[in-house]
Amino acid sequence: MIKVINAILAILSGVLGSLLFYYVLNKVVERLPKKWEKRLKPYVFVGPAVLLIGFFLVYPALRTVVFSFANNDSTAFIGTKNYTDLLGSGEFVSGALLNTLLWMIVVPAVTVVFGLAVAVLADRLQPRAEKFTKSLIFLPMAISMVGAATIWRFVYESRPAGTPQIGVLNAILAWFGVDPVAWLQLSQAHVNSLLLMVVMIWAQVGFSMVLLSAAVKGVPEDTIEAGRIDGATEKRIFFSVVVPQIWPTVITVFITVLITTMKIFDIVYVMTGANFNTDVIALRFYTELFTNGNNGYAAAIVVMLMIAIIPVMIYQVRHFRRQEAEG
């Protein structure tokens, strides 16, 4: 009971407090000469937010960069040793780094292609069938990544030959009298990593489909008709008329999925625990920080991840601005 009252009090004082804070600030600025009032007013309202973001985002990020040049318990600087150690270890480069790269190459592309295919094909169905299909494909979006990973672990589950196979894939093999395959152990050619990517794609195609479907429906009918009158094939219409008009959405979906992919952690953690050469950067960071207690390595890994994400972010912001300017 006390907790509930405390929570309500906290919310009230928080909301009222910030209202009062801005009210007082506003009053103060209004007393200044007109010229100064005009100059200062925007900062009065934007300033606190910028400061808070600085506190909770920029400052920790800077600290992380600093820690990445320090030793495992952040007590002494050791130069770039964390970076050279990590990049010099084959285990990190050909393990976590390479796998993350594979995830980045495969997942966003496949997600966009599948999403687009579903969006376009469902567009041609009866309205009711379209709704049903889309809901079905969108459904996995409602499942948390950990939940999805647990479900897919059962899909890939392998029991000793001769016992009932509860994993779908191995149950199918068992029908044909084939011995069970330990799917998640197939590290040759990163097959198991690909199997993990399937989970991510399964979970993300819904998102991609919804956005792309809206874009496809937004393509003006007359442009398509014009193409038809000119005698273009369906294929030509799709690639030369529809795709260019939905390209901005394609890019947005691609980048959003790409960033999610770069941060992938839960699927690998739940399904293989980085065994069988399925390690990825975010999981490696977690292991270094919480299992190995090595702040230096952990910081260096996230800094590398941050550096890798920055160009993508810049591209997206630019892309977004251009879009706004055009729209």
């Binding site: 600030l25 506190f55 495992n72 007590t75 589950e157 029991r159 069970p180 330990a182 152990q185 299992t291």
Partner: protein, 440 residues
């Protein structure tokens, strides 16, 4: 003008923190309770890693005592203990007492200066007389003890399906040679002798490390074991290699393990023994800690009558006969608080502590006190395991739990998985584990 002052101070604080971001925190930042002295907290917080029935058993044992002594206990159940204790300590929010399942992690905290030595807090001669030999020193650093066991488990055990085992005319082996002979004898009948499972979610691989530790103890003895655990004997040492070879002989010989050696790493450790209880039995032997007898591991139809269904024999001796075990070690974060000390004393010094945890239902708890009343245990099988442990000449704490976490909860686990699955040969596995050993 209140607003102005606020923004100004916020701006100043922001500027100062940004400027200081160039410095590092001094490594000697103290534990949460360093400032307190001569206090007596009303509420004592205890963090621990076990769950479910174990938690209830722990509460059942401590609550009545706490009530009569007018101390409130705050139980912090950490489903991922290593992560949670690290972040609580890093956030200066350490519990008063923590029960560490891993001495390695405990020593890591000690190295950071977060723990209080217990030599002057607890009655050491009394503990030395009461606790099973070898356990008090699991968390000793430079002659000072930082962790004292509250509970214990015994790992040097082989379980079997009692009716099937007896019907087939097999006898519990007394030596490693007899064990090998029994393995071959069972295999000759066309049934796999062993059930082994290494899968344990994020901790996959640890049951494999238990095998190696067991074999090192039995083949090379406690002295080599201690040196190995502390890093003085390398994994590439011939004596450790011998243990890996013996393990490979059991786990990787065709027909030795139910489902074949490839399936070992995919089998959950908790249910790996289930094929032992099918008809006909899928396997006859399963090496695991005593905790496998508690609810949630073996099939319910088996645990319902555990004493008639399940038999156990100690892992047979080789050159040596040291027993492997594990447990929860109480460590102290808060210094000089009367009530915290009182709770710690109750947890560790009282040989009757845990009676309500041990029975009447079997919750997989063993008291580390030799003078604990064994009649309190919930089943005959646990009673016999406890009796065996209390009369053992030497017990060693789980080696992987004692090694630095980077090895013991990292490369050793992962190495066992890759090695058992046949994805990595022995030489590479051992080399990789040695390379991962932290240098500082």
């Amino acid at each position: 003008m209140r607003g102005m002052a606020l923004t100004k101070s916020v701006a100043i604080v922001g500027a100062v923190t940004l400027l200081t971001s160039g410095c590092l925190s001094s490594g000697t930042s103290s534990g949460s309770g360093d400032s307190s002295g001569g206090t007596a907290k009303q509420e004592v917080s205890i963090m621990f890693g076990f769950g479910g029935d174990q938690t209830q058993g722990f509460k059942d044992s401590l609550d009545p005592w706490a009530k009569t002594n007018n101390i409130k206990i705050k139980y912090i159940q950490a489903s991922s203990f290593d992560t949670q204790i690290r972040s609580s300590v890093a956030g200066n929010n350490a519990p008063d007492i923590a029960l560490f399942p891993q001495p390695g992690l405990l020593k890591d905290m000690q190295k950071q200066g977060k723990l209080q030595p217990l030599n002057d807090v607890l009655d050491m001669p009394k503990l030395e007389a009461s606790i099973v030999p070898g356990f008090l020193d699991a968390a000793a650093v430079d002659g000072k003890r930082y962790g004292v066991p509250v509970s214990m488990n015994i790992k040097s055990l082989v379980f079997y399906n009692k009716p099937a085992f007896t019907a087939a005319g097999y006898k519990a082996p007394k030596t490693m040679d007899e064990l090998t002979a029994l393995t071959d004898k069972i295999k000759a009948t066309g049934t796999a002798p062993w059930c082994i499972g290494l899968e344990a979610g994020a901790a996959t691989g640890w049951p494999g490390t238990d095998w190696i530790e067991e074999l090192v103890l039995k083949q090379s003895g406690p002295d080599v074991y201690d040196q190995w655990v502390s890093g003085k004997v390398k994994f590439e040492d011939p004596r450790i290699k011998a243990a890996f070879a013996s393990y490979a002989k059991i786990a990787q010989t065709k027909g030795n393990v139910f489902g074949g050696s490839k399936s070992i790493v995919a089998q959950a450790f908790g249910t790996a023994a289930n094929p032992m209880f099918t008809k006909p039995a899928g396997c006859f032997l399963h090496k695991q800690g005593n905790f496998v007898t508690q609810k949630g591991f073996l099939p319910e139809s088996v645990t319902a009558k555990i004493d008639t269904n399940v038999g156990v024999f100690p892992f047979p001796k080789g050159q040596f006969d040291t027993v492997e075990g594990g447990g929860d070690l109480a460590a102290l974060f808060t210094k000089g608080d009367a009530n915290v000390t009182k709770v710690l004393k109750e947890l560790t010094e009282d040989p009757t502590f845990g009676a309500a945890w041990a029975g009447p239902s079997d919750r997989g708890f063993l008291s580390p006190h030799k003078d604990f009343d064994v009649s309190k245990y919930g089943s005959e099988i646990t009673r016999s395991i406890a009796k065996g442990a209390y009369s053992a000449t030497g017990i060693r704490f789980d080696g992987s739990d004692t090694m630095p976490a980077k090895v013991g909860a990292g490369s050793f686990w992962k190495g066992m998985v890759a090695f058992t699955a046949g994805q990595q040969d022995m030489a590479t596995t051992l080399k990789k584990i040695d390379e991962s050993w932290p240098t500082s």
